[in-house]
Symmetry: C2
Subunit: 253 residues, 2 copies
Amino acid sequence: MVLDPVTEPEADAGLDTADGACLPVVPSLAKSLHGEVLARLRDYIVEGNLAAGARVPERMLCERFGISRTPLREALKVLASEGLIELLPNRGARVRQLGAEELVDLFDVMGGLEALAGRLACEKITPAAYAEIERLHHEMYGCYMRRDLHGYFACNQAIHDRIVQAADNEPLRTSYANFAGRLRRVRYSANLDENRDRWGEAMREHEEILDALRRRAGTELSDILFGHLRNKRRAAAGRETAGPPDAATGVAS
Amino acid sequence: MVLDPVTEPEADAGLDTADGACLPVVPSLAKSLHGEVLARLRDYIVEGNLAAGARVPERMLCERFGISRTPLREALKVLASEGLIELLPNRGARVRQLGAEELVDLFDVMGGLEALAGRLACEKITPAAYAEIERLHHEMYGCYMRRDLHGYFACNQAIHDRIVQAADNEPLRTSYANFAGRLRRVRYSANLDENRDRWGEAMREHEEILDALRRRAGTELSDILFGHLRNKRRAAAGRETAGPPDAATGVAS
DNA sequence: GCACGGAAAATTGCATTCATTTTTTGAGAG
DNA sequence: CTCTCAAAAAATGAATGCAATTTTCCGTGC
C-alpha cells in the first residue's frame, strides 16, 4: 500500500544538456539509502511491529536494517513530519499514540480527502476507469451477499483507491496515502462482522456512491463520501473502549 | 507562518509512571536544533529566497545558519516529504518547480481542505469565533469598498484561517498549512487589481460563505468554499503565461 | 572556433566520533 | 522494606571524517 510513485531505473543517463526538460517522474527518494530506509521503516511501523506508544530503538533498527544511524535518523524525522511517530526532545522517538479524539480527526480528514477525490473523479474519470469501479462494486456486492468479509474489504478498499486514482491529482494521492497509513496502524478488527446493520448500511451507501459517480454528480458524490466516512467513523468509535489509548479500533467499511 | 503547534516548556518532568496519560501537546520539534533549522529553512524557501528550480546549496546554508550538515540534511529530507523541494539522487536538492498542472492540483487540494474545514467549522464553531469572522468579513468589505487591496488580502486570509481554526482539527490544520506554504512560494501578484470582475465575484462569494456559516449549513458551505477556490484558481490561471514553468502566478482572493 | 576528454575540485551520502542528556543500577539512609 | 541520591551505562543530538559521485575547468584534437 501507500502507493509509491513509480521508480523506474532512471534510464536517462548521459545527455542532459542545457535543456531544462528533465522532470519526468519524481526521483526524490528513488534510490538512495535514505529513501529505502524510509519506506522500510514506515512499513515496519504501519504493519504494527512496534507497539503504540513504544519508543523507537535506533540501535536495534540500525542493525536490523544494516545501516548507520544517520540515514535512520533522517527517516525518523520524515516519519515524524508525517505524523506516524513523535520526536521527544532528547528522548528519541516513539510511535504516536492515537487517542480517541485524534482518531476522530483523522477520520474526518480522510472523509474530506475522499470527498475531494470524488468531486475530482467525476470531472476526470475515464469510461474505462468507471467501468472498472463498477465491476469492483458488483464484485463487492457478491462478497456482501455471501458474507465474504475479507473479499468485501479488499473490494471496498480497491474502490476507494480507484476513486482517488481517478481524481488524477498527485498531491491528493500522496496526502491520502499518508493519512491512510496513519489510520492503518490501528488494528483491523472485523467490526462489520459483529455489526450487520452497519454492513448493510455501508453497502447501501456504496450503491449511492456508484450511482453518483455514474451520473458524474461531483457535489453529490462528495457529500455521500464524506457521510460514508462519517458513518464508518461512528461504527469504529462504537467499538472503541475509549479508556486505554491502545484500544483496537476498527478501520473498515 | 505555518502555524506551529504550541511548544510549552514541557512541564511534566519526573513522574510518568505507569499512567499512560501524558500526551498533552506535540513536543516533536519543540526545541532541538533540527526543528529550529527546519522552520527557518522552510521559511527561507517559502519566502522565495531561493529561485524556483535552483539547487539548494548545503554548504552555504550551513554557514548561514551556523550549523553542521547533519541537521540541515535532516531538514532537507523533511522539506522534500512536504513537497517543497525535491531530492536528486546524487545531486542534492533543488527547489521544486510548480508546473501549471501541479499548480492546478494544489489549488484543488486547497479547495478540498477548505471545503472540509467549512463543514467541520459549521459543527464546531463557537459563537465568539463566528462573531470574529463576521467582524473580519465586514472589515474586508470595507477594504473592498475603498479598494484597499492589501487590507483586503489580509482580511481574506484571516477569514480562511479562522475557518480552519474553527474546524478544530489538528491534522487538517497541519495539512492546510503545508499546502498553503507550497502555494505561497509562488509570487503574489495583484491580479485582483487588474481583474475587478473577479474581485467583485470573490466578494459576493464571501457573502455566501458568511451566510452559510451563519446558518451552520455545512454541506452548503463546503460547496461554496470549493467553488470559491476553483474560481480563485481560474483567476490565477488566467494570469498565467503557461509556457515557462517559472511563470509568476497569482495567489489571491 | 568548437567539440571532446580527462583530471582536479567540489559536493554528496553515509559512517564514525564526541559531547550531552537520559536512564539504569546500586548503595545508603530512614 | 522503601525511598533517595549518586554514579555508571546507555542513548541521543550534532559535528566531523571519508569514500564515491558529480561538476568544473583546462588542455587537446579536429
